[in-house]
């Protein structure tokens, strides 16, 4: 058996287009998912049961079901339920945003909790209003503490995004699969696809460690 990795170069343009779709999808869903996740974390830690109930159900449901099932549901069932056509991209964004929102809300929730009661007492003793307390003390500390785990969440999302190929979105995985089928060269093409994912994810996983150490150094009182 001989390998011909030159075949990968022949399809480099198609692969890059696929990568672009993957990155676009991932970045949009990171942004929207983090905003959703933060709001949901606030809702889940609030005293208001009407906020707490639905937000908890949402998070537990999305954490407790396979992403692939969520994707299929949103691609095939949501349009029927809503009675509207959804583009592939729209469905992908909705599905992965909801997934990212669920996992990042847990990250935010843990970091919100990590801001101790002593810090809040100090805020009251200094006369800070509830708003100033949240904006200037709780939020900055929570975001800093959340940063490493949040980055891990982003990496997970980037990798999980390959699942959208199963519903026909032309992302990196989908393009790779097509090329591998058409050329009958799965080893070369799928190895190249794996390497592309790895080259992007690996530096980020290293960054998680570095950020963790920096933040520990800064925030350890």
């Amino acid at each position: 058996m001989t390998f011909d990795f030159a075949i990968v170069l022949k399809f480099q343009h198609a692969l890059l287009l696929g990568l672009w779709t993957t990155l676009k999808l991932t970045l949009i869903c990171i942004l929207l998912g983090c905003i959703l996740g933060f709001l949901v974390a606030l809702a889940r830690t609030s005293k208001n049961a009407i906020l707490r109930g639905p937000s908890s159900v949402y998070v537990e449901f999305f954490r407790g079901t396979p992403v692939l099932v969520q994707l299929f549901w949103i691609f095939f069932c949501l349009p029927l339920v809503l009675g509207v056509e959804l583009s592939n991209m729209a469905s992908g964004v909705i599905a992965l945003t909801l997934y990212m929102g669920a996992i990042s809300s847990e990250t935010f929730r843990a970091s919100l909790k990590s801001v101790g009661r002593e810090q809040l007492d100090a805020c009251v003793a200094l006369g800070l209003s509830p708003w100033a307390r949240t904006a200037n003390v709780v939020l900055p500390q929570a975001v800093l503490r959340a940063a490493p785990t949040l980055l891990s969440n982003c990496i997970s999302l980037f990798k999980e995004s390959a699942l959208v190929s199963a519903v026909g979105m032309a992302d990196l995985m989908f393009v790779g699969q097509n090329i591998s089928n058409n050329t009958a060269r799965p080893i070369e093409v799928l190895t190249a696809v794996a390497l592309i994912y790895f080259v992007i994810a690996f530096p980020l996983t290293r960054a998680v460690t570095v950020i963790e150490q920096r933040i520990l150094k800064r925030l350890a009182v």
């Binding site: 002593e118 810090q119 007492d121 003793a125 200094l126 100033a132 925030l219 350890a220 009182v221």
Partner: protein, 256 residues
């Protein structure tokens, strides 16, 4: 306010946690503007709770606290406590555990409240902060983060942070008990300096030397009530009450 009117007037103060743990059981304390009150008493006796109530951090069950002749804290009977936020702003507190904001540098810790609470301009607040830090020998630490400071430095910064709001009363809750012994003096010196400037204060401490040097008045609290209250020479030197005597002998290893 005349010199003789009490600065703080605590009347019939009852405080429990969840209605079960009865901590303060009918406390009456009057404090004059010139007083520096040291509160001593057994661990778990409610000293921290008393200071937290005075700081407006706790709900109370019964009683009231007046400040400068005006009502400050009041139990409404229906389980709710009214706390006058404006009065609260004129009281500063330093805690046993470090409570600096870890994400802000020293100067950031000092100027946050003046800017957010009083709307002071950043440059102005920074200038005042630097002056305070210089006075406390911390000028070179202005840009350091709390994690880079020793325990003694952290507590001095915490004191400076409270002073930025020009408090009319300072509360110190065992501010040196988490410190290594060699760092205690630098913090106590700063508080003694404040005492010389006639800052009214309530201090909880287990340090006999410090208590003797700073107190104009010592209160021995146990079982949620005031057991003995008087000048330091009397309460620390020749206590009238048997319980006070026992406590002082045990904690300060002094035989009368």
């Amino acid at each position: 306010m005349s010199d003789t009117a009490p600065l703080v007037k605590i009347e019939g103060l009852h405080k429990s946690y969840g209605g079960v743990v009865k901590v303060l059981q009918g406390l009456d304390i009057e404090m004059k503007a010139g007083d520096r009150v040291v509160v001593i008493g057994p661990s778990g006796g409610g000293k921290s709770t008393l200071l937290r109530v005075l700081m407006g951090l706790e709900q109370i069950d019964r009683g009231s606290v007046g400040f400068g002749g005006k009502p400050y804290i009041c139990a409404n009977g229906n389980g709710k406590t009214t706390i006058d936020a404006k009065v609260r702003r004129s009281i500063g507190m330093v805690f046993q555990h470090y409570t600096l904001f870890p994400h802000l540098d020293v100067i950031g810790n000092l100027i946050l409240a003046p800017m957010k609470v009083r709307g002071e301009k950043k440059a102005e607040a920074e200038a005042r902060a630097m002056a305070l830090l210089t006075r406390f020998g911390l000028a070179q630490k202005a840009k350091a983060y709390p994690a880079q400071l020793s325990g003694g430095q952290k507590q001095r910064v915490a004191i400076a942070r409270a002073l930025m709001l020009d408090p009319k009363l300072m509360l110190f809750d065992e501010v040196t008990s988490a410190l290594d012994p060699e760092l205690v003096a630098e913090v106590e010196q700063v508080i003694l300096q404040l005492a010389q400037q006639q800052m009214p204060m309530v201090i909880v401490t287990h340090d006999m030397w410090f208590a003797k040097n700073i107190a104009s008045r010592v209160i021995f609290c146990a079982g949620g009530v005031v057991v003995e209250d008087g000048p330091p020479e009397q309460v620390l030197g020749s206590p009238k009450e048997e319980r006070t005597r026992e406590f002082i002998e045990r904690v300060f290893h002094i035989k009368h």
